[in-house]
């Protein structure tokens, strides 16, 4: 019973906290509230997931209106897992944020920063939990609008143009999604996703259904930065404040991919998708994304931009898994969703620490910094090894699953591409490691920090500890895969079940 209330509390809690933070307008209170809210949400999401991992489904009817008329929150294993990822990363980011935000954001903007952060968090959670497709659109816009604002707070003025581009493209994607939803509504007369999945196959006007499908997919693909619709991502992630790039890189695209999975496998059915061009398209785009993203990552001269392009490549792996349209493929995608969130967050946190010390993360300015910050460097190496997919880390688990799935379908070109992707990852990861460890330390070019400032001397404990928690979990979940693997498997089973998840 109590799990039902949890589903709505998860959204309501940050929704209440955000305006309170804005009204109180004190930076230390803002941080404390953000941390406590995200930690509470994390605990609740763990609780909720434990309630649905066995395959049961939680329903919550908003305002007591029965679905399909009212809005329904519907939590099964799939969105339970994604909600856990979002909450976990948000809590880690909040723990990490204090000192980094103090340094990067002007003091008077800090409360508003946390307010926007909570709104973004709330939007992403809402996308995960809602069972109503229009409600999903609204949450999509809530999270997007706040993330545009967050990105624009970056110190480099390029953050502004990056944010504007993201705004234009993001709105375009969301609007496409909205048209698709409208057409689906026109064909079926319902907005509830469970109800849609029943009525779509019965719809008379197949043209309408097909058009809706295409528009929804394109809209979501823009949000998920699927190649070739990834153009907004590299700049947005590399010029945003460190805390924002940590949070968005680990959650925003993941949630968009969740929406894609939800729409393909639940709203529409596997049988429907099989008969379209989409699976082949997804596989090819995934493969191209892996190669293109990795190649571009090798060519970058800044740590964050390199990580951003690596994200494009990693999204490619997830898309490929979805494109296989098999249980094994989708399981691999979901596990990678979870694992990639861990490692990318850890890597961006390390970048954040370098920025904290050197004020920038371009290769030229972080030369030899690894020797001065051995702990940060070591944690970064662990996360970077995950990115390559070294056995014993999370990256290996997902790649192994994906390779399995590709072999099952005899997709030999994809097997080769996955392995080549790993090899390319070695190159860019090692480029980073060499810069940090082997290049001689040059005189630190510090701008904007008073001389003798203690920032230069040491890294804040809270930031380093959070980084290490994530780095160690990269290893822990690489060896003990119970949580990620079992949850993903159970989620996939529900999606592939004969009744298409009607419960």
């Amino acid at each position: 019973m109590i799990e039902q209330q949890l589903s709505i509390l998860l959204v309501v809690l940050p929704l209440l906290a955000a305006p309170i933070i804005a009204v109180i307008n004190r930076s230390s209170i803002a941080w404390a509230m953000t941390l406590s809210v995200t930690v509470c949400c994390l605990i609740m999401s763990v609780w909720m997931l434990s309630g649905v991992v066995d395959g049961s489904v939680i329903h919550y009817e908003l305002g007591g209106w029965a679905p399909p008329w009212g809005i329904e929150y519907r939590i099964d294993t799939l969105n339970g897992l994604v909600a856990l990822i979002v909450c976990g990363i948000a809590a880690a980011t909040a723990l990490y944020a204090k000192r980094s935000v103090e340094q990067e954001i002007p003091k008077h903007q800090i409360p508003m920063f946390y307010c926007a952060f909570l709104l973004c968090f709330l939007g992403l959670l809402g996308i995960c939990l809602t069972g109503d497709i229009f409600n999903l659109f609204v949450f999509l816009e809530v999270s997007s609008l706040s993330s545009y604002a967050l990105i624009a707070m970056g110190r480099n003025r390029k953050a502004l143009t990056a944010s504007f581009h993201y705004l234009v493209l993001g709105t375009l994607g969301a609007t496409f999604f909205l048209i698709g939803v409208g057409l689906a509504y026109g064909a079926t007369g319902t907005l509830n996703m469970a109800d849609l999945s029943v009525r779509l196959p019965q719809a008379v006007d197949t043209h309408l259904v097909n058009t809706a499908f295409a528009l929804i997919v394109v809209g979501v693909a823009l949000k998920a930065a699927i190649y070739p619709l990834h153009l907004w991502l590299p700049n947005a992630y590399s010029f945003a404040p460190s805390v924002v790039s940590i949070f968005l890189s680990a959650t925003a695209t993941k949630v968009a991919i969740y929406v894609l999975i939800r729409c393909l496998f639940h709203v529409y059915s596997v049988e429907y998708v099989t008969n379209t061009l989409l699976p082949q398209l997804l596989i090819v785009m995934g493969g191209v994304a892996v190669l293109y993203g990795s190649m571009r990552a090798i060519g970058q001269t800044g740590m964050r931009k390199m990580l951003a392009y690596s994200s494009v490549a990693q999204i490619g792996y997830m898309i490929m898994g979805i494109g296989f349209l098999t249980e094994a493929g989708l399981t691999a995608s979901l596990i990678h969703l979870f694992n990639h969130a861990l490692m990318k967050a850890a890597l961006f946190m390390a970048a954040g620490l370098f920025i904290y010390r050197a004020n920038t993360a371009t290769f030229e300015n972080i030369k030899g910094l690894g020797r001065e910050m051995p702990w940060t460097f070591a944690a970064m190496v662990i996360a970077a090894l995950s990115l390559i997919g070294v056995p014993g880390t999370v990256g290996f688990v997902s790649k192994w699953q994906l390779l399995q799935a590709a072999l099952e379908e005899n997709h030999w070109p994809m097997v080769v591409i996955i392995l080549v992707g790993s090899l390319l990852a070695i190159i860019y990861v090692w480029k980073l490691i060499e810069v940090l460890y082997f290049q001689p330390r040059e005189k630190m070019r510090v701008t904007g920090v008073a001389s003798g400032s203690e920032n230069i001397g040491r890294s804040p404990i809270s930031m380093a500890v959070t980084l290490w928690i994530l780095a160690l979990s990269c290893i822990y979940f690489g060896i003990n895969t119970e949580l990620s693997m079992d949850t993903a498997k159970s989620a996939v089973e529900i999606l592939f079940a004969a009744d298409g998840g009607q419960r």
């Binding site: 624009a152 003025r157 502004l160 143009t161 944010s163 709105t171």
Partner: protein, 119 residues
């Protein structure tokens, strides 16, 4: 044929509207014009929903004696939300443009790109 076009005249207009918006967004380097295009595009979608909800011969969806056919109220309610979202997006976009003007001194995209590449 002519009947098909005339019968769906509202949809044709909406499509033309949306294409105008999309084209403006893509072809104009001026950021404000881009926002205008985006708004027009969004308005097209709002009209799409509204015209879908119209039932021939239906009245405003208020329960009253003597009326049995009503227009579908749900899309209209949805569009209220969408309008709010659209206004927020436009406001945020303009706020960003103001900041860009302050930081770069221009709002022409080609000039912005040139300045970004110089760095």
């Amino acid at each position: 044929m002519i009947e098909y076009i005339l019968g769906h005249i509202n949809y044709w207009i909406i499509i033309v509207l949306m294409m105008i918006g999309l084209y403006t967004m893509m072809s104009r380097p001026n950021l404000i014009k881009k926002m205008v295009g985006l708004s027009v595009f969004q308005t097209g979608v709002i009209l799409l929903y509204i015209s879908m909800a119209k039932v021939t011969g239906g009245t405003a969806p208020i329960v009253a004696e003597g009326f049995t056919t009503y227009s579908n109220p749900l899309p209209q309610v949805l569009m209220l939300t969408a309008i709010v979202v659209g206004v927020a997006t436009t406001a945020l976009g303009f706020a960003l443009i103001v900041r860009i003007k302050e930081a770069y001194g221009t709002i022409e995209e080609d000039e912005l790109e040139m300045m970004d590449n110089e760095e």
